[in-house]
Point group: C2
Chain length 135, copies 2
């Protein structure tokens, strides 16, 4: 059997897998140095090892960076395999972050043209407000 090309595209290296697993099972976005602290028992000892894995995971769309928080969250939106078009809601009290998956929103933004008629191939949108629990 071996590993097919498609499988290969999604296979992660050792450090990438360790760090992805941690982010994926976290209920909240994780910061780079929180990740570092939590993977030291697995042999990842230096910031650069974390940042390299994060860069790659962002590049292939397995995780996203929440720019306003300098934190990373696993992608839970099957339609964004490429880290190209992301939208999140962020609670300003409890800091809960949810990836928004709205066909209407992504269609609107993908087709948005600025006043020069320019379209953009990539965007990141962060909504802020209060989540259900914190209202």
């Amino acid at each position: 059997m071996g590993i097919s090309k498609i499988d290969k595209m999604h296979s992660l290296s050792k450090n990438q897998q360790i760090i992805f697993d941690l982010i994926d099972k976290s209920p909240e976005p994780l910061k780079a140095y929180t990740i570092l602290f939590n993977v030291q028992k697995k042999g990842i000892k230096a910031p650069l090892q974390v940042y390299r894995a994060l860069d790659k995971l962002v590049e292939i769309g397995k995780i996203h960076k929440i720019e306003s928080r300098n934190a990373f969250i696993a992608c839970h939106n099957s339609s964004c395999q490429v880290a190209k078009a992301t939208a999140f809601s962020i609670c300003e009290i409890c800091e809960k972050v949810t990836e928004i998956s709205s066909a209407g929103l992504s269609k609107y933004l993908a087709n948005f043209k600025d006043k020069d008629g320019m379209k953009y191939n990539k965007y990141n949108l962060e909504f802020f407000g209060l989540c259900k629990k914190c209202r």
Copy 2:
């Protein structure tokens, strides 16, 4: 005459004015330590003095933070006196940043509801692509 209440709302302290002037006349977003370097001759010597002024200027909507770049730009959109709803286009080659002022876009986002029907009172959107010159 004196200073009216409306004028007062827009008056800036000494450090705030120095830092706003620098950002306002810059053709590109400025980073905090670039600002610090450029205002040292005016007596602002410590990072905290810069960050405090930046915080205030963001709060009152005179400047915005470009989160993906950790940089600050003056507001050129008369309708966003409050730092609540911001949208930018960012060129991935030359890093030119432009504030987007589109009634349609702001209306769409202000009225956007997530799948729970939640609305959010604040957002930041960053579009990425190539500007006219870099295409």
